[in-house]
Subunit: 433 residues, 2 copies
């Protein structure tokens, strides 16, 4: 059985989600909805929405920012919008951001077909899991070659979710995934431009499109992902077949990592560790700060002396200074040009040394802070997410900070009620008002 | 200036088409329209159209088979439909089929924006030329790696055509092409499935989408095609910069090659040569036939003893036998399963020897036929297209054979009248009835 068929049979079969998976999916829907609502004013969101509104359309699904369109155009707009702030979840096995490609596809089709909340959650769970598995199957070589797994692996996940909600059988799902193989795309060279969030939107739209085509009986080749000149071989995929082990028995998606700081994910373990040290020292007393992190991040988010707010989001030294000085690193408006030249932060930043340490994983960071009293250490591993309830509380705090409690409260209620809802309207009424 | 910017500045500038280019574009529109109308009953055409009609939509542009949708969905349907029969034009420098990706995008936007016939032709000319230039820039290594230039280079051409009709300036066109770089796709491993014609439709849709986004102000990186981890470097592109030489002064599109036989283009030079010999010999008298062709084709269309109609389309031996036996190789319904087992054709087919000859280009074939009277030779080079009037006559014959003269006659009149038409309605009324 080919990789394409293996995934399709799993995705089309009956599903009985374990509680941990269902809880993770609900947390991710909530986080996705929060960052999507918070991002709807971003230029890429507004402009993509304007392009789609110009098409007119059938009002099948709502758009962040208001209005509606056909399902696949809604997936495009909502994918780009929810990734616009770069504040959405990350999965390190996936090497990308699963929710922003898969959730818009699932929600657009669920809304269009008036699916139940439970059907939406099941489809989304399968899509999110599929995108993580395929991202892992493609592997780091695919990412290093220049492909953006959020867009590529994300498209396959979006297809699974959309296909599930369109009721595809295993054969149709095979064709839908095979069409995705000739359609999935997304380059990292778009980073720093509106093309990055659009990669998520494009992936979401590809998923809806390929599922719709397969539902109408369009056929492709069953070996399109892993076979000769399939998607993997033509896109530097590593064909890590072990990534598909345990499909149906185990779920990798719950290892998803949420952003609680509005900056590059490579900085988050450091900021968590710094947060634990912060109450033990005053900024004025700090003589030096040393950060040990995985060497990969040094090429990603180690701008030593940023001069713009965007650069601050990619700077160990400045964000460490911000954390120890008590600046809220979760707030979007902390990352301004002015923040990069604030005298106390510049002084503190200049006391920070960043060291690449291959003994750490890329989710681990150690921070040491030295004062006249001595040196204190803290270590954080993003894989150690802590109790589910604590994570959910932080997500609610994040949402409240982004949207205000008058929105975040009802939003959480709508998400929590999905399992028993006969449709997704309570959620979409808030998101697409 | 980057490759992306070079193309964008050329595509957005004033254009003064030479007569040869304009004539070629009109011929290609006519041929594209003929094979699109003839293909509208194919399963991939009907199913893709059904998927799009389910979206509803704003009636911006017509669909082969009837009905309408928004422009980018129309581009998808009409691209897939016009490539469904594999009877559309080929450009050997492009290494693909330019019209099926570019023309649907141009026509959908022209219809949506009620552009004049002249504006449609200008935009289409630029788009077709761009797709040939980029196909050549990507080169044979891109094709050999598994990418289908019809889909990849075609998407860039579609963007140029659509962007031109949306009035993009050079900066916006740069962004439109840069977005295309993160969106273009298409795998050869889809050959033999509905994914092949869909690659053309997807490319057409990508073009309209990226042009629409750029028109709304969406921005990307100006180095997205040739820069680090741009489309070329990540997709085995050869970066043949000479492919862009003379842009604005010279036009490569007029070397386009039309199909006058309803089979693989690798067989056409042979069939042209055989056609010249056929009147000099009777099939019964033939002792042997020898075909010298470029070795590349032996892996493409040299099925020695096909048993199905589809196989016949990829068989030097059988189609040579058909040609010498007087079977119409231009007719779609000549390629049946029954044809492959017709006794006289099997006997004649068994007298054919096919020899790879690296001294020939892949557009040249030599045929020798031996009877008791001796041996006669004929040589054909597809690059030697003959007088434009003769080509046009053959296109009209082909169209009449596909559609009947009651359709092909008015269709030609509508195409010939485009240059002076204030819109494309005379054409679209025929195509999308």
């Amino acid at each position: 059985m080919t990789v394409t068929e293996t995934l399709a049979q799993w995705a089309a079969a009956l599903v009985d989600l374990p509680d941990t998976m269902r809880a993770s999916v609900l947390s991710s829907v909530f986080d996705w909805a929060s960052v999507g609502l918070a991002g709807r004013g971003e230029p890429v969101a507004q402009r993509t929405r304007a392009a789609v509104l110009e098409e007119g359309g059938a009002g099948q699904a709502g758009l962040f920012g208001g209005g509606s369109s056909n399902a696949r155009s809604a997936a495009l707009v909502n994918g780009a919008t929810s990734h616009a702030l770069d504040y959405d979840d990350t999965h390190f096995l996936h090497i990308g951001h699963p929710s922003v490609a898969v959730t818009p596809a699932a929600l657009a089709v669920a809304q269009w077909k008036d699916a139940s909340g439970a059907a939406f959650i099941d489809a989304l769970a399968l899509g999110l899991e599929a995108s993580c598995r395929i991202g892992d199957w493609l592997g780091r070589a695919h990412y290093e070659a220049g492909f953006h797994q959020t867009g590529t692996a994300g498209a396959f996940g979006a297809t699974v979710a959309a296909g599930r909600l369109l009721g595809l059988d295993a054969g149709q799902m095979t064709h839908a995934l095979a069409l995705t193989a000739t359609r999935a795309a997304g380059l990292k060279s778009q980073f720093g431009t509106m093309g990055k969030p659009l990669n998520a939107g494009f992936a979401a739209e590809v998923g809806v499109t390929c599922a719709m085509l397969a539902a109408q009986g369009v056929e492709s080749t069953p070996d399109a992902i892993a076979g000769p000149q399939g998607f993997g071989p033509t896109h530097a995929g590593m064909a890590r077949d072990q990534a598909l082990d345990g499909l149906g028995q185990t779920w990798v998606f719950p290892d998803v990592s949420y952003k609680f700081h509005a900056c590059c994910h490579g900085l988050h373990a450091m900021l968590e560790a710094a947060g634990r040290l912060r109450n033990a020292v005053t900024a004025d007393a700090i003589q030096s700060i040393t950060i040990h992190t995985h060497p990969r991040w040094l090429a990603v988010c180690n701008q030593p002396s940023p001069e713009m707010g965007l650069g601050a989001k990619f700077s160990y030294r400045l964000t460490a200074a911000m954390a120890f000085a008590g600046v809220d690193t979760a707030a979007l408006d902390s990352y301004t040009d002015a923040m990069t030249s604030r005298a106390d932060l510049v002084a503190l930043r200049n006391k920070v040394t960043v060291i690449g340490d291959p003994a750490l994983t890329d989710m681990q960071t150690r921070v040491s802070v030295t004062t006249a009293e001595g040196t204190q250490d803290a270590f954080h591993d993003l894989m150690a997410t802590g109790p589910a309830e604590a994570v959910r509380q932080r997500l609610q705090d994040k949402s409240a900070s982004l949207l205000g409690t008058d929105v975040s409260g009802p939003l959480w209620q709508a998400v929590a009620g999905l399992r028993d809802a006969s449709h997704t309207k309570a959620l979409t009424d808030i998101l697409f008002a």
